[in-house]
């Protein structure tokens, strides 16, 4: 019975756990409960991926109403992969949250945070596994609203304005998607993704579908913070509580990118998106700008969370660049980088959380002599950073390697140059920290100690995995390639 209902359980477990956790009220009860939930969710997603790899695509009819009349949950290698990323980060970060949140939030807010976290997890997973275009919108809102809550809990008052901006941009993005879905619906009469994919070609050559495509793409790009629609991201990441930043940075944008892939490749189809519509060219240009400009801006940041937030915008650029080729190699490079970047950025933000836990600051000055005072934390940041640079033997290298290969495959060798230039920029902003941490003397070496194990353990679990997936890539490359093929071939 369990295995038959895995797709539903993937979302239901956290979704149901949220109100129950809310009823528990006491943080010391809520956190273990939430942790248990996230672990269960992780197990489910592992099982789900296994099932997909064994039996191929799984279709689950919610409420027993067969699609297109009911809502279908449709799991293939692509979204099983993304779901795994999300729930894995969800579990690890939740483990970390126990200590970090107790330190960063007043007691009566801790429960609220954990509940919001669970809702966010449920929302993201809901977006990932659903096979219904409108259902995407609903769960997009669940995850967005809960993200706003988490971000707004940041200590600095700027967290509030950041959240407001995020809320406005996010809602606009969601509404754009809603409009796009509406236009698709009015032409086809269906909301089920597979059904849409089958019925769109008949009406593909209509102006309505063109503008539907435009609205969906713009809306999603707002959500995934594609340059220049990234305005909401830096402050939101910079001023949110450490845990929120780590979780959101490693999952939310990734899920948004998945949604883009799902709509563009599965629903509209490669030929429509890349031949009828100039999606490839547009994305490519934006991706190049995204790689170069935000990475440059990052160099000049003194708030290090903000620095890595900008770096995230840049890294999204890499993913989008891969997608913009519209080839299997390119998309799989993108998927690979979704996975690897989730790990690297997650790890880095967790490490920054350790720093904040001890020093109460994430400003550049806080890094003075950190190599001596908090060697493990700093080492984590460096290793993660090397991943961003794309140094061999880190996960980051693998995805960049595939990205460049995808570019050369298309004969776009200048893009290879762009990617390498991006790596150099990353090296520069990483170097800022390294110089501060290892070649400066700590001014108050006495009271700053290494972060507690409860924080270091999850941090290093993530960081170590970036190394592991930089050396043993059977899982990542295998699944990513498979997923890319399923997406490209679509349902036809």
């Amino acid at each position: 019975m369990i295995s038959a209902n895995l797709p539903a359980l993937q979302v239901i477990i956290p979704l149901l756990a949220a109100p129950l956790a809310f009823l528990l009220r006491k943080p010391r009860l809520v956190w273990p409960f939430a942790l248990l939930t996230t672990v269960l969710t992780l197990l489910v997603s592992i099982g789900l991926l296994q099932q997909v790899l064994d039996q191929g695509v799984i279709s689950y009819a919610m409420g027993g109403w067969s699609p297109p009349w009911g809502i279908e949950y449709r799991v293939d290698s692509a979204n099983a992969f993304v779901a795994l990323i999300v729930s894995a980060m969800g579990a690890i970060v939740m483990f970390y949250a126990g200590t970090s949140i107790r330190h960063e939030l007043p007691e009566h807010k801790q429960t609220l945070f954990h509940v919001a976290y669970l809702l966010c997890l449920a929302g993201l997973l809901g977006i990932v596994v659903t096979g219904d275009a409108f259902n995407v919108f609903v769960f997009l809102e669940v995850s967005s609203l809960s993200t706003y809550i988490m971000v707004s809990l940041g200590a600095n008052r700027r967290a509030l304005t950041a959240t407001f901006q995020y809320l406005i941009m996010g809602t606009l993005g969601a509404t754009f998607i809603l409009i796009g879905v509406g236009l698709m619906y009015v032409m086809t009469g269906t909301l089920n993704m597979v059904d849409l994919a089958q019925r769109l070609p008949e009406v593909a050559e209509t102006r309505t579908i063109y503008s539907a495509f435009a609205f969906v793409t713009v809306g999603v790009c707002l959500k995934l913070a594609l340059f220049p629609l990234h305005g909401w991201l830096p402050n939101a990441y910079a001023y949110a509580p450490s845990v929120a930043t780590a979780f959101v940075a490693s999952t939310a944008t990734k899920v948004a990118i998945y949604v883009l892939l799902r709509f563009v490749l599965t629903i509209f189809g490669v030929t429509f998106s890349f031949n009828t519509m100039p999606l490839g060219q547009i994305l490519m240009v934006l991706a190049i700008l995204a790689i170069l400009i935000p990475s440059t801006v990052a160099i000049y940041q003194t708030n290090i969370k903000r620095l890595f937030a900008y770096s995230s915008v840049g890294q999204v650029g890499y993913i989008i660049l891969g997608i913009s080729f519209g080839t299997v190699l390119g998309v799989s490079a993108g998927l690979l980088h979704i996975f690897n970047h989730a790990l690297m950025k997650g790890g880095i933000f967790l490490a920054l959380g350790c720093l904040y836990y001890r020093t109460g600051s994430v400003q550049l000055d806080a890094f003075r002599g950190l190599g001596k005072t908090m060697p493990w934390t700093m080492a984590a940041i460096v290793v993660g950073g090397l991943g961003l640079v794309g140094v061999p033997l880190t996960a980051g290298f693998i995805s960049k390697w595939y990205l460049v290969m995808a570019a050369l495959e298309q004969g776009y060798w200048p893009l290879a140059v762009v990617v390498l230039a991006g790596s150099l920029l990353a090296a520069v902003y990483l170097w800022k920290l390294v110089e501060m941490a290892y070649f400066q003397q700590p001014d108050n070496a006495t009271e700053v100690r290494e972060a507690p194990l409860a924080l270091l353990l999850p941090t290093w679990l993530v960081i170590a995995s970036t190394i592991y997936f930089g050396i043993n890539t059977d899982l990542t490359i295998g699944v990513a390639t498979l997923a890319a093929e399923t997406l490209i071939e679509g349902v036809r």
């Binding site: 509030l160 407001f164 509406g182």
Partner: protein, 116 residues
């Protein structure tokens, strides 16, 4: 064609009015109002799609065969709920921002953040 589409066009006009208020105005409360107008207009668009000439409200009654399309109605019920949820959250943010900055004008807040 004009007759066939005019009210979609009016709806678009409404939408864009809301959209304009959101991105052009600096007052946070007014932004929220704009957001509401934007969303409400989208709802009007959907519901208009569902209308069938001479159709009855989609409540089964004997002797009636032609009903308007209920699906958009369902979707929009959800959309309205999402809308009010977002509004509530946005407004409480506005209140907190006003407490923290003593203003709900983007410019003021921005200048304060730059100075701090």
């Amino acid at each position: 064609m004009v007759l066939g589409l005019y009210n979609y066009w009016i709806v678009v006009l409404l939408m864009m009015t809301g959209f304009y208020i959101v991105i052009a105005h600096g007052n946070l409360i007014k932004k929220v109002v704009g957001l509401n107008i934007f969303q409400t207009s989208v709802i009007i668009m959907y519901v208009s799609m569902g209308k069938v000439r001479d159709g009855a409200p989609p409540i089964l009654t004997d002797g009636v065969t032609l009903y308007s399309n209920p699906l958009p109605h369902v979707l929009m019920l959800t959309a309205i709920v999402v809308g009010v949820a977002t509004t509530a959250l946005a407004l409480s943010l506005v209140i907190r921002i006003n407490e923290a900055y003593g203003s709900v004008e983007e410019e003021d807040i921005h200048t304060q953040e730059q100075s701090s």
